[in-house]
């Protein structure tokens, strides 16, 4: 043991001396921590958020884009005209744009990318975004005309997604491992299992980024993430996995804790098509058995906004319906009795890997137990969750965060895993897609939120927060997460 200690001390001294020569050149480099490594770097053929977190607004650009606040702003399309019937969009493209391989960008690339995404053999994870496109026509190298099958109020919004970025047909075969886009940073290197490196693209058409080098480092282990941040191995961790340690960062002047919001509505989803949750009284009973504050405190260490419906609280159209499903175990028991379950029942609760689900699930199981509902926990991996819960609808209860923006329409989908069937809700959705008047749209969106809250489709828990930690000297990181992205184009170090 003695010699072990000696050995470790020697090794440590060796290491300490080598650490004395840090690689701080001028501060134009940044290392950004991410929990998950992207499986590949092609956002047009994979759903993993990590792909977008590396590539969106850094490597790839679309016709439009989300800005830091979630507004839709021009990107490769400088401007656009929409025909009076809402069917034709004419995009005026930026000029002088080059791909990272040096080839010029033109309207042909736009046509190619959109046509590829909606082709029959497309493997685009969000193919639905392109479903309303009837045709894409090149007017001239700097103008593209997109014709829709029917008016679609969210078409520009759809084109801002990471799945709708513009690629070059020349590099398409190797996009997954060597992405070539038009963005401010070009891909340099990917050490699998460890990091992806980007460098400033000298030929960038827009305002030059202030950083020369961006490294995305993949650290899945929360304690390792904590240690890496503390040790300065990582400069920023926009989606920090260990919420429990944030107090320590807050107390440390070297760091800034960035807490914003995401588009993730976290739900205790109930299988509306299966006993006992086909009974609205039972669903209401579950809703009243849930103590959101305890869940947010226990699973999220106090971060997260309670929600009472499937809508983001920071959205102007949000209606706060949390009071309708307040914590009231007595009422819950009474409702169970009315529904014919005076002694409760036993159901399964399937939990995917994220901590909000695993930790939240343990708390929810304990809360349900208090009203007599025994929830048996099974931890599943994402692949299993997708197959059994999402595709197979073989579940009673599950916890998941729906992170797509503006996705209340999922309640109107046939065969969706909630098994919720409501003609009233579907009508609201049909009316919505045919409405362009903002006031009327807002009205309909509010009605939709109330509808699902009244039907107690799911127990709505909280809006997933975006909890990040960064070196206090870094400026320009996104506070919120309107879409998965680590946009580095405007990030810099203040000395």
């Amino acid at each position: 043991m003695n010699s072990l200690m000696k050995l470790m001390t020697t090794a440590a001294i060796l290491v300490a001396t080598s650490a004395l020569t840090p690689a701080f050149a001028a501060n134009t480099a940044i290392t950004v921590g991410m929990v998950l490594e992207p499986p590949n770097l092609d956002p047009t053929s994979g759903a993993a958020a990590a792909i977008r977190e590396v590539t969106y607004a850094n490597i790839f650009q679309g016709l439009t884009r989300f800005d830091a606040n979630g507004a839709i702003v021009p990107d490769l399309a400088k401007s656009w005209d929409i025909s009076a019937d809402g069917l034709t969009y004419t995009f005026h493209l930026a000029t002088g744009v080059k791909f990272h391989d040096g080839s010029p960008f033109s309207a042909d690339d736009v046509k190619f990318s959109l046509d590829r995404a909606r082709a029959p053999d497309s493997t685009n994870a969000q193919k639905g975004l392109f479903a309303d496109i009837a045709s894409v026509d090149v007017v001239d190298p700097a103008t593209v005309k997109v014709t829709l099958k029917k008016p679609n109020g969210s078409f520009l919004f759809n084109m801002a997604w990471g799945d709708a970025v513009i690629l070059s047909p020349k590099s398409i075969a190797t996009e997954a491992t060597n992405p070539v886009g038009t963005g401010p940073f070009k891909f340099v290197n990917w050490v699998k299992g460890d990091r992806v490196e980007l460098a400033k693209f000298e030929g960038y058409w827009g305002a030059a980024p202030k950083l020369d080098k961006v490294t995305f480092k993949f650290i899945s282990d929360p304690s390792a993430a904590f240690a890496a941040m503390m040790a300065g191995d990582v400069d920023a961790f926009p989606l920090f996995p260990a919420a429990e340690t944030l107090e320590q960062f807050k107390a440390d002047p070297r760091f800034e804790v960035i807490s914003g919001n995401t588009e993730g509505e976290t739900l205790l989803a109930m299988n509306n098509g299966k006993k006992p949750f086909d009974n609205i009284k039972v669903r209401e009973a579950v809703a009243h058995a849930i103590n959101r504050k305890e869940i947010i405190d226990g699973a999220m260490f106090g971060y997260g906004t309670p929600i009472g419906t499937h809508f983001a609280p920071h959205n102007p159209d949000y209606v706060d319906l949390t009071a309708q499903s307040n914590y009231d175990p007595e009422k819950s028991k009474a409702l169970l009795k009315e529904a014919g379950y005076p002694d409760g029942f036993t159901v399964s609760l399937k939990l995917p890997p994220p901590p909000y689900a695993r930790r939240g699930g343990e708390i929810i199981a304990a809360q349900l137990a208090k009203v007599g509902i025994k929830a048996e926990i099974t931890n599943v991996e994402w692949a299993q969750w997708l197959e059994q819960v999402f595709k197979g609808k073989d579940y009673d209860l599950t916890i998941v965060s729906h992170t797509e923006p503006m996705d209340i329409d999922i309640y109107g989908r046939d065969n969706y895993y909630f098994n919720y069937k409501s003609d009233a809700f579907k009508k609201i959705m049909t009316d919505l897609s045919g409405t362009t008047d903002p006031a009327k749209r807002s009205e309909l969106l509010k009605a939709a939120q109330k509808r699902i809250a009244d039907d107690y489709v799911n127990a709505f828990l909280f809006e997933l927060p975006k909890l990040g930690v960064a070196n206090a000297k870094i400026v320009g990181l996104w506070k919120n997460q309107p879409t998965p992205s680590n946009d580095m184009s405007e990030v810099y170090w203040k000395d």
Partner: protein, 289 residues
């Protein structure tokens, strides 16, 4: 490997065992955990699954002897219940290994050199060749994580251990004269294996069983650590460590106590195994004293 004969072993076994310091110490430690596990069936200081989020991450105190975890659960109570899970998983896994492995080993020994022998031994090698933890992970990926599947995953890897041991020991016995006599008397291979060989390799099996038991505790801890053992809210030592990991700088006690419980249980079993081996193995006993 020498094999003590039965009459020799029976004489004053218990007394002799406790004269071995390592056996006595190991037995004492193991007994504490087994008793804690049994006691947890009727009593724990707190309900091991009751959440009290307002009491989370409390350091050890008179109120909570080992402190509380991130949900405010009492760690002492969780360790008691966790002992039950770990011990049960490892014990049944050893049982599987013995129940399947010993008959296979005896069969192979009885048919030494035959095709059956060859197949059994090569199958054993094959199982040995698989990276155990990986296969356990695959098994739970197929059948879902649960204590039962952890038992099966660990149990499978116990089979070749016992098969090899039984075969090796049986082979030396088959050359003994009294076995030859039994054969001449017309006893079949099955009867000989059951009546003459099995009783004589029992002590070896007990020693190996103790060692596999302790390995089983470690394996269960590793599996639950990666989330593949008993599912929440049932406490398990490995999962307690996994939960503790992210909070290690905040609440080190969450990691210390379950880890210490694993170490002590494994240590206790290993000491017991060592003591038993010294007792059963005359050659080693001589060299020790």
């Amino acid at each position: 490997m020498s094999v003590g004969t039965l009459p020799e072993v029976k004489r004053g076994l218990v007394g002799a065992a406790f004269q071995s310091k390592s056996f006595a110490l190991g037995f004492a430690v193991t007994a504490v955990f087994i008793l804690a596990a049994l006691l947890s069936l009727i009593w724990t200081p707190y309900d091991a699954t009751a959440l009290a989020v307002s009491d989370k991450l409390k350091a050890p105190s008179g109120l909570h002897w080992f402190g509380t975890d991130h949900f405010g659960r009492d760690i002492f109570s969780m360790i008691m219940v966790g002992a039950r899970t770990s011990i049960a998983v490892a014990f049944v896994a050893v049982g599987i290994g013995i129940a399947a492995g010993v008959p296979l080993g005896l069969w192979a020994a009885a048919k030494q050199g035959s095709l059956v022998d060859e197949i059994i031994m090569r199958a054993n090698d094959l199982v040995f060749a698989f990276p155990a933890l990986l296969i356990a992970i695959l098994i739970t990926a197929v059948f879902g994580p649960s204590a039962i599947n952890a038992i099966i995953a660990i149990g499978i890897f116990n089979i070749p251990v016992f098969a090899r041991l039984a075969r090796g020991a049986a082979l030396t016995l088959w050359t003994r004269e009294y076995i030859f006599a039994a054969r001449v008397a017309g006893k079949g291979a099955v009867r000989i294996s059951a009546e003459h060989i099995l009783p004589n390799i029992m002590n070896l099996l007990i020693v190996q069983g103790t060692i596999q038991f302790s390995l089983g505790i470690l394996a269960d801890a590793a599996l639950s650590y990666v989330g593949l053992g008993a599912q929440p809210p049932t406490p398990s030592w490995g999962r307690m460590l996994a939960d503790a990991q992210t909070m290690i700088s905040l609440a080190p006690h969450m990691a210390l106590f379950p880890g210490a419980a694993i170490v002590l249980t494994v240590l206790g079993l290993n000491l017991m195994g060592d003591g038993l081996r010294d007792l059963f193995d005359p050659k080693l006993r001589r060299s020790r004293s």
